[in-house]
Point group: D2
Chain length 175, copies 4
């Protein structure tokens, strides 16, 4: 039978794999709230969650999630060839393919997300810290970057939406 | 008075500046049709045009259009400082900021557009050839790349839409 | 024992994995020659080969090679989880992580390589065509893009070198 | 007379323009030191300065510097067309071409620099804070991102060099 992509299946798998690896949508929404709370007084965690869900509906984002988590799982199972196995296992400093996949997520909502991605990746708030804890049962090399990238994208999306809202309310000066 | 962005104004300016520099939406739609006609039997030029218009509605795309065209105009007027003036004026081979701005357009619709962008930039079909003709009244260093990037993005968007249509029609195997 | 990266080992593995997957450095050099022959009269295939080898000496490039080939191999062995397995196996049109890894190679030598990458990826000359032939024993989803990206990077490097040579020979007008 | 690029002139201009806009190489070296001091006990400010100078010797980096500073200057002089003039003048939140140019700098030393770039851009230490002070005589929209990107690239370069040094000293386990 000829292969035919089933988008629904891809979308569901990406959500399910995130959950299996210990990441809830709420966790990412909290990162987004952390990034944006100082800019918008009335921002709610629910808005952040909606924004995360919209980001997760993009195929480019789903592709990166599936690919990154798959590599993390195979690494945990020791199924990669040496020296790649050791490089990913040890989250090696000069290995940057995790950042590259993350960048492909950020790019979908534009370059204004770059800063937030870098900030989260360095500060490691909330779930990112948990994912980075190497003492737990899971080893994540790709997932922490991916989660940070989703939160940064959701932040960019909020920035775009808030601007739209402001303009709709007529809060603009005459052009 | 406090500055406040007027998105409508940004959107209109980006369309108007394109037109002033000799690029009609139909011209970009033709590039998109050129890229996609072999993949979809029933594709029409109208679908391509709709897709181009959707791409043009994105702020990230508008930012790149305005910035690139502004640099082209200032170069034409000889208003840049040396050596940047000569570098852009001569579309210098090692100067790649035009490709960088173009890439920011392509990225919005994901990495599958990269190939189409490179292909157009090399083959220079239709309007891209016209823009590259250095004997005309205008000198375009940024605009040809930007136009190619918009066409490539519109192609990516069509690929996503055609998949959606196929799935809606139930042409998928059971998952 | 504490993990410690052995760069020599990473470099060697990336060359060896390429070879095992049917790609010789000469094959990539030919792509580079194909891309650049019209621009430089005296360009030799040996220069192209040297340039390819320099590109291959970069860690960022090696990371992408190892990661891409590993994913190709695991896909061939059917070891990925569904639906990622089917997506990569069928080189699915909306899956762009192969282009993303390739882009990370191109970027190391700057944005002027983007065009050449896209052109090769579309035209599929030489070894790229062979890699794309789905009837052979191997299935390559990542490798064809990676090989095209290495050739494009080697082309960018040649453009930079030729400019240097020209300037050293005093073929420049007074500034 | 035919145009011919003079690379020396481009390199010198990029250094001179930085200086004219109030950025000394030492300032960028301090940012790099700030980013890397916790990772390398023996790191000196001189090493950081050397690394910054190496980054500045890359054409892709020089292109971004010249283009970004030129746009900042023209904006200061009010020479851009509306609405681009107002967008850049006000460092508008949804305008991301400054981040895009910066990304092209970071990419030259690989994706591991992304995180550091985002971190600096958010924290605004040292010279970045000074550049962001909108009360001074100069308005910088592009330059702060460019300076952060150079510092992040210099950090990536140091990470690569330190690894090399370690391996040369034989501090590696047998492979």
């Amino acid at each position: 039978m000829t292969y035919s992509l089933n988008s629904q299946q891809v979308a569901e798998a990406s959500k399910q794999w995130l959950q299996e690896r210990g990441v809830r949508i709420e966790d990412i929404a909290e990162l987004t709230f952390f990034l944006q709370q100082n800019y918008y007084d009335t921002l709610t965690i629910e808005e952040c969650q909606t924004s995360v869900e919209q980001v997760l509906s993009k195929r480019e984002v789903q592709n990166a999630i599936l690919t990154g988590i798959q590599l993390d799982i195979l690494t945990e199972e020791g199924k990669l060839r040496s020296p790649l196995q050791e490089m990913i296992e040890n989250d090696e400093g000069l290995y940057g393919c995790d950042e590259i996949l993350a960048l492909s997520i950020v790019n979908v909502y534009g370059s204004i997300g770059l800063t937030n991605f870098g900030y989260i990746d360095k500060l490691k708030p909330g779930i990112v810290q948990t994912l980075n804890d190497k003492s737990g049962p899971h080893k994540h090399t790709f997932l922490d970057d991916i989660v940070g990238a989703i939160a940064a994208s959701a932040s960019s999306r909020i920035a775009h939406r808030k601007q739209e809202e402001k303009e709709k309310k007529g809060l603009l000066p005459p052009s």
